[in-house]
Amino acid sequence: MSRRELDLDQALADLAASLEFPPTPDLAAAVTARLDEAPARRPAAPARRRGRLAGLVGRPGWRRLAVAGLAAVLLAVAVLVASPGTREAVARRLGLRGVGVQLGGPPPPTVTTRPGERLDLGLGERVTLEEARRRVGFPVLVPGAAGFQEPAAVYVNEAVPAGGRVDLVYRARPGLSASPFTDVGLLVTEFRGQPTPEFLKKVAVLGMVEEVRVGGEPGYWFSGEPHFFTYRDAAGSLQDEQTRLAGNTLVWQRGELTLRIEGEISKQEALRIAESMR
């Protein structure tokens, strides 16, 4: 370190010593109370979901969406339970690098798509496209299709999954309606998928998943009823709590990259945007 660097270093350390943070609330008591409330010390998923939703529907304004979410959960579960045999057969041949597609099986325990938090898409840090390109270890692609060449916002998360991840967000506008699940017009996610562990997990219902080809490479189109979808969190865990519902989604492979487009768009539109990525 140079002399000047040392000076600033010392000045900041000196500042830190006399800095006042707001008083820390008694988190230990609050957290312990919440854990005690839970039916088991580390409850199985269904018990937790009940607790969550009970809290949600108790709040004014959240009731409608929570109930809608719950209805979707129940519908999905009902359909899943109906066809266990087929599900096993299909589950084996689904999946892209970094993406697990589970047809049926236990539904994720929580639905966190709720008003006011719908923009919580688990994105990383907001940066410019150039900065995102500098930070991740893969070429960041942008749609060449008219109207999609300039994302409204770009987010980067360097930590998870390994190799990083970039999200392009497009605002809703005439001809591109806001998704009820994300509140944005279009969300494009890119990461370098590893065969394991998967970074995205999707739980969908047979009949709502269609195999497609994008530029000759494999992909899946999810449509119809919303499907569940879980990202790994910053700590690298597949967090059940971060599960949310997603609408129409195209996920596909492009070399080492795995890409995902989510929005209220038709399959043709999604494929057109996907094919134009460069």
Binding site: Q10, A11, P25, L27, V31, A159
Partner: protein, 200 residues
């Protein structure tokens, strides 16, 4: 680097086994750190409390996936910081880093004259003000390093970036802080600053 107390691993192990009392001890131990880290990210105490509490609850449920023997602090900080970032994105912008410079010197320092103390305080206030003028990313990396005194691994966890990029991010942030100070005309940017520690 972590300097963990001897019994931390044991507490984590007990908590992993479902012992909520052991976990309470861990929460009490790290609640300051978790709350302040969340505060640095969201910039408001209500949201910071919310994020830290939610982070601790999620960490409890995620404990079975915690790798035994690895350091607990960065793991916990990653979860709390992620909660905080989610709140920052979904919420309105808060009064950014509304930290205060204490009126009194921390105990243990030599008592300066009242005039010198006033100048000191003013200098620290200006420096804090300059930090507050930086962009979000610069402010956070400086706060993590200096105000929270996080290790590199912990900084990477709290900032959601690779460990290898922490140093360069910090040095870029300090560079820009120096530029803000120079613009302010604050002597802290100059070699003969009153703020430098060596002369005290």
């Amino acid at each position: 680097m972590e300097g963990r107390p001897l019994d931390e691993e044991e507490l984590v192990e007990q908590a992993r086994g479902g012992d909520a009392r052991a976990y309470e001890v861990l929460v009490r131990r790290y609640q300051d750190l978790a709350f302040r880290t969340a505060y640095v990210i969201v910039g408001g105490s209500a949201d910071a409390e919310d994020a830290a509490q939610e982070g601790f609850v999620k960490a409890w449920y995620a404990l079975p996936r915690f790798r035994a023997g690895s350091p607990f602090r960065p793991w916990l900080l990653a979860i709390v910081a992620n909660e905080a970032r989610n709140r920052r994105r979904s919420g309105r912008r808060q009064d950014d880093l509304a930290l205060r410079v204490a009126e009194d010197r921390p105990s243990g320092d030599a008592a300066p004259s009242p005039e010198a103390a006033a100048v000191d305080r003013e200098q620290r206030r200006l420096l804090l003000d300059a930090v507050g003028r930086l962009g979000e990313s610069d402010r956070q990396v400086i706060a993590c390093r200096y105000f929270l005194e996080l290790s590199e691994a912990e900084m990477a966890a709290a900032l959601g970036c690779r460990r290898g990029t922490v140093k360069s991010r910090l040095s870029r942030a300090l560079h820009r802080l120096r530029a803000v100070l120079a613009e302010q005309g604050t002597p802290a940017a100059a070699p003969d600053a009153r703020l430098q520690g060596g002369e005290r």
